[in-house]
């Protein structure tokens, strides 16, 4: 569950991501990456590699001050960011919180 500052407590983000990755990919038609935010830096944490043919502009969904998702849409699909965020929160919140 998100804590008061929008971060996640007692939730293994990597685990949640692994469970959701294929579903997210089918929603967006391209690879999805979980990244860890440290100041300006967004470090790759998990997600299918390499990105092969995908070179659409990546789209961002910030999950918390520490974590975000990057989508590389395969078919130019417009991602409903709020929906993705809610989905992730719901799933991650079900973890070991």
């Amino acid at each position: 569950m998100p804590d008061g500052e929008g971060g996640y407590v007692n939730v293994n983000m990597m685990q949640a991501f692994e469970q959701l990755e294929s579903m997210l990919e089918s929603e967006t038609g391209g690879p999805v990456h979980l990244v860890r935010i440290a100041g300006q830096r967004w470090s790759y944490a998990a997600g299918r590699l390499p990105l092969e043919e995908s070179f659409d502009a990546p789209q961002r969904v910030i999950l918390s001050p520490e974590w975000a998702l990057l989508f590389y849409p395969g078919n130019g699909s417009d991602i409903d960011r709020e929906q993705i965020r809610e989905l992730f929160e719901k799933h991650a919140g079900k973890g070991d919180a």
């Binding site: 100041g39 300006q40 830096r41 590699l49 390499p50 995908s54 070179f55 990546p58 975000a68 990057l70």
Partner: protein
């Protein structure tokens, strides 16, 4: 009351954490096996068979790492025709992965206090002639105003000495200060968007804190991998005297979450052949143990320093021909790794390096503390031996370098998008290996180059740069039509003064 000396000694005594060395070692042994390396060098064919060399080159061209044994074979190539084939392959690899882009940056020295006593360095603690200084936040802001607001840099390598005055808290605060400066320019605004850090080795906990500050690459150079030479150059009892604390620094950095790390050697301290083999062992060890090899490799070459103990007839000084061979072999051995050549080298060597697979160069560099804002002609043309670690060989301005590169068909990239888009660590390595990163890079290179030309370029630089941009855009249209709409939208917005748009 404690004296400054007592404080420094107690700070030094807390720095090295032995358990953060031993845990990475293999039954108490490190990964640089001097005897094995010397044997591999001795056993490599003295006159390599061209067929064998060509097989090795084909492996590099397929973007596959070379083994140390294969590197030893390339080291022994002396035949001019074969060397030409190596040069040709190195350039083709560079173009395949990085295309015609050269990323540019500036070095920024924040202080020259140092507790160490390295024999070859003008900043060593025994050098009483060096003028010591650490920049205050206001001084940092003044320097960045010049770097980002007058020269137009977007990327820095910030250099910190090993001293309590330059400790982790100072590093974090200075990074915040650097990132906070925003300066009005001719058509938009300038700021520093990526700060790479060249600093001493830290423990995992300190490295975590540095990572949280949002750095680009973390660089620590081993200087020499040869243990006997290392001990001779770095006196026992100093922090730097601990070979393994330095050797395992990148293991700790990767464990701390810093997933872009830069390694390097100060060529000229020991036999370059041994050092080259060791660099390959180092990056392969990181990849094997932690899943991510070196993001960049640097290869500074020893040059005179004030009060240096290295004599002019030191047997390991590297001549120009061998230095070029070193660059070629690094490009071939780790085909996708970034290669940095700094302004230590003369302009003619750096221009040649561009044709050998180099990916990053600095320009308008000043390495005396506080010298970007401290007087223009003074700092560039009259170098301050008592305030700099070494003497620069290439004092070209960024505008001049950009023009020279453009004449050679190379576009100067100010791109800092990758590390702000999750293209770091294993991701960036895989993208580079598969050739996919180039698609992003080309777009971002053109966008950032356009920004620079509009904000800082001289009339001549614009004349040299604009046709290059037209050519790049034509290529994007042909090879990357999917990205064209968004790219053209960003390009138009940059022309009207918007800044820092990236993909």
């Amino acid at each position: 009351m404690l004296t400054e000396e007592t404080n420094t000694s107690s700070w030094m005594s807390r720095r090295i954490k032995n358990d953060e060395i031993v845990k990475y070692m293999d039954h108490g042994r490190d990964f640089i096996d001097d005897v094995l390396i010397e044997r591999q060098l001795a056993e490599a064919p003295k006159e390599p068979d061209p067929r064998q060399v060509r097989e090795i080159l084909a492996q590099s061209m397929a973007i596959k790492d070379l083994s140390p044994e294969q590197v030893a074979v390339l080291i022994n190539v002396r035949d001019p025709g074969m060397l030409e084939e190596m040069r040709d392959t190195a350039l083709r690899i560079k173009l395949k992965i990085y295309d015609n882009r050269i990323v540019t940056f500036a070095p920024f020295y924040l202080g020259n206090y140092c507790v160490n006593r390295c024999s070859y360095c003008g900043f060593n603690n025994d050098n009483c002639d060096a003028q010591r200084k650490v920049l205050s936040p206001d001084e940092i802001r003044r320097e960045i105003s010049v770097l980002a607001g007058e020269i137009g840099h977007k990327r820095l390598i910030v250099v910190y000495g090993e001293h309590p005055k330059n400790d982790v808290d100072y590093i974090i605060e200075s990074l915040k200060t650097i990132y906070s400066v925003r300066v009005k320019t001719r058509n938009g605004h300038g700021s520093i968007r990526r700060v790479n850090v060249n600093a001493p080795p830290f423990c995992v906990e300190d490295l975590r804190r540095i990572n949280e500050a949002g750095i680009g690459t973390y660089q620590v150079f081993q200087e020499t991998y040869h243990k006997e030479t290392y001990a001779r150059m770095h006196p026992a009892g100093t922090l730097k005297g601990n070979y393994n604390w330095r050797l395992y620094c990148m293991h700790r950095a990767l464990e701390a979450g810093i997933d872009d790390v830069g390694i390097g050697v100060l060529f000229g301290l020991y036999d370059w052949r041994f050092e080259l083999m060791s660099l390959v062992y180092h990056t392969q060890e990181l990849e094997k143990r932690l899943g991510i090899g070196a993001h960049t490799i640097s290869f500074p070459r020893l040059v005179p320093a004030l009060n240096s103990a290295i004599p002019a007839d030191w047997p390991y000084l590297v001549n120009d021909e061998d230095f070029k061979k070193i660059m070629l072999i690094i490009r071939l051995a780790v085909p996708y790794t970034g290669m940095i050549i700094t302004a230590r080298e003369r302009a003619d060597i750096r221009d040649e390096a561009v044709r050998m697979g180099i990916t990053q160069m600095d320009a308008s560099s000043r390495i005396a503390i506080g010298s970007y804002s401290g007087g223009t002609t003074d700092a560039v043309t009259v170098q301050k031996e008592d305030r700099q670690q070494f003497i620069l060989g290439d004092t070209r301005s960024l505008d001049e370098l950009i023009r020279d590169l453009a004449r050679m068909g190379h576009i100067t990239s100010f791109c800092t998008a990758g590390y702000r888009c999750g293209r770091t660590g294993k991701c960036i390595m895989d993208l580079l290996r598969s050739g996919t990163e180039g698609k992003f890079c080309k777009l971002n290179a053109v966008l950032t180059f356009q920004e620079w030309l509009d904000d800082f370029g001289s009339e001549e630089a614009r004349k040299a740069g604009e046709p290059l941009i037209d050519k790049e855009i034509a290529q994007i249209k042909e090879k990357n039509p999917k990205a064209l709409d968004i790219f053209m939208d960003y390009h138009r917005r940059i022309k009207t003064g918007e800044r820092d748009l990236y993909l």
